[in-house]
Symmetry: C2
Subunit: 276 residues, 2 copies
């Protein structure tokens, strides 16, 4: 059996960085808190909790000398409250999200009408929005969007980092005719797209694809869906234990993994396949 | 016979301003020069020349104590040469074009990669280009445009004032994926579009349309073409003398005129129609 990894898979840059920050903090303190589970991977979150990184859902639950803010960032008011806790704050906001936050703030300070492409309920968008409180969040009917007045002098447009570039192109195009000056900050992160494209590329070469990731991981689900149109067998697993019995029948197998899947789980699956 | 004017017709803002500047200059001097014919209307240019405004094609031909720079602007180097002539310089550059020039210069000074949507040979584009010498001029295959490198850090995009907004939307959309930061200055002037839309609106109400303008006037030609899909009779005339004999058969006639058609020619045509 030949086993091949997709050219891009697993932890993205932001997750890798956040994960490392937790490990570093655990060297310094016996226990740290993360504000919400660090990543959408139960097995890794469990492993981290055994090491001392305890996820909490509210600041009232803080029980450690350090707190980690996860990749998608926190609202400004939450950040202020966190700073007042008197414990060490480890900011693991993804650099792409932090950049989007600072661009939103810059637009806001310079008097732009700020427009954010994204899902208004998403924590990342909520965190960006807190830096440009009067911003407009758009996600659907982009071609028909309009302001309360016909033409706005200066529009600053940015995007939730995980939005498809096609949607940003569409809303930017619409904004051209609604503004005299338009600044578009391309804050779309290509990691998700790159991972999907690498998986599709590999799907052309193999008889089956194994998608590794947590059941709750949205980007893993999207990765699985992206492969559903291919005429091969596709399996989503959380680890080696989920591999189907008949997997030994394939001569060529491809592997991909979501942004929140750690290397050790990928290796676990790979080893099991090799042993067959 | 009912005669109705389109809600928008004749001189646009920039032409009106330039024309007034020539008349004002003629009050001060007996003779002025214009660098190129002031407008694409032979009859008005002839009338102005009889008043003392003489069109010249090169700075070597200057013969008056004042020179008028026409609406579409001049290249920076020509402006420098004009200033050294030692005669009064009357700058009648259209304010929309002047704004485009200054935006191009600002982009250039701030280190943007400057992109101009327009016809590279057009005098207006040449004048804008002289303020951002290394700019890229684009006009076709906008969706497939690419730079020498995959992604450019900062792009400044502007447009020749007479380009259709649809083309600016298209190239802006393409630039989103070719840049990290994109600034779009919407320098498209709506006068031409507004005039065309007003003519079409009126076409729905009448049996025939009269389009008044010089044979050499490009925007008059486009106005005529815009009406060609309507199931009514359309006539292009330079003045009352061109009106067809059978025009008296219509009960409802609409009138429109190009951006370079002076009010007195519109009135001349209107009077002749009323006298029928």
């Amino acid at each position: 059996m030949t086993i091949k990894r997709a050219s891009s898979l697993g932890f993205c840059y932001g997750v890798r960085l956040a994960h490392q920050k937790v490990l570093d903090a655990l060297k310094k303190y016996q226990k740290v808190n993360t504000l919400g589970p660090l990543i959408h991977n139960e097995r890794e979150v469990k492993r981290l909790s055994q090491l001392g990184a305890i996820a909490i859902n509210s600041l009232d639950e803080v029980s450690a000398p350090a707190i980690v803010l996860r990749t998608h960032g926190v609202r400004r008011d939450v950040l202020e409250r966190v700073k007042k806790l008197g414990i060490e704050v480890i900011d693991a906001t993804c650099p792409h999200v932090a950049k989007a936050q600072s661009i939103a703030q810059k637009f806001y300070n310079e008097g732009f009408r700020v427009v954010i492409l994204g899902e208004v309920e998403h924590p990342e968008v909520q965190s960006i929005l807190s830096y440009a409180p009067n911003a407009t969040v758009v996600n659907e009917n982009l071609e028909k969007f309009s302001f309360d007045k016909k033409v706005v002098e200066r529009v600053g447009l940015l995007s939730q980092t995980t939005q498809p570039i096609e949607k940003l192109k569409l809303i930017a195009s619409r904004m051209v005719e609604l503004s005299q000056e338009l600044v578009v900050a391309n804050t779309v992160c290509f990691a998700t797209r790159k991972r999907q494209e690498a998986a599709k590329e590999l799907a052309d070469e193999v008889e089956a694809m194994i998608v590794i990731g947590g059941r709750a991981s949205s980007n893993t689900k999207k990765l699985f869906l992206a492969l559903s149109s291919y005429d091969i067998d596709v399996y989503q697993v959380e680890g080696a234990a989920d591999l189907p019995e008949n997997v030994s029948k394939y001569k060529k197998i491809g592997i991909t993994a979501g942004a929140s899947t750690p290397e050790w789980i990928i290796e676990e699956v790979e080893s099991r396949l090799k042993s067959l």
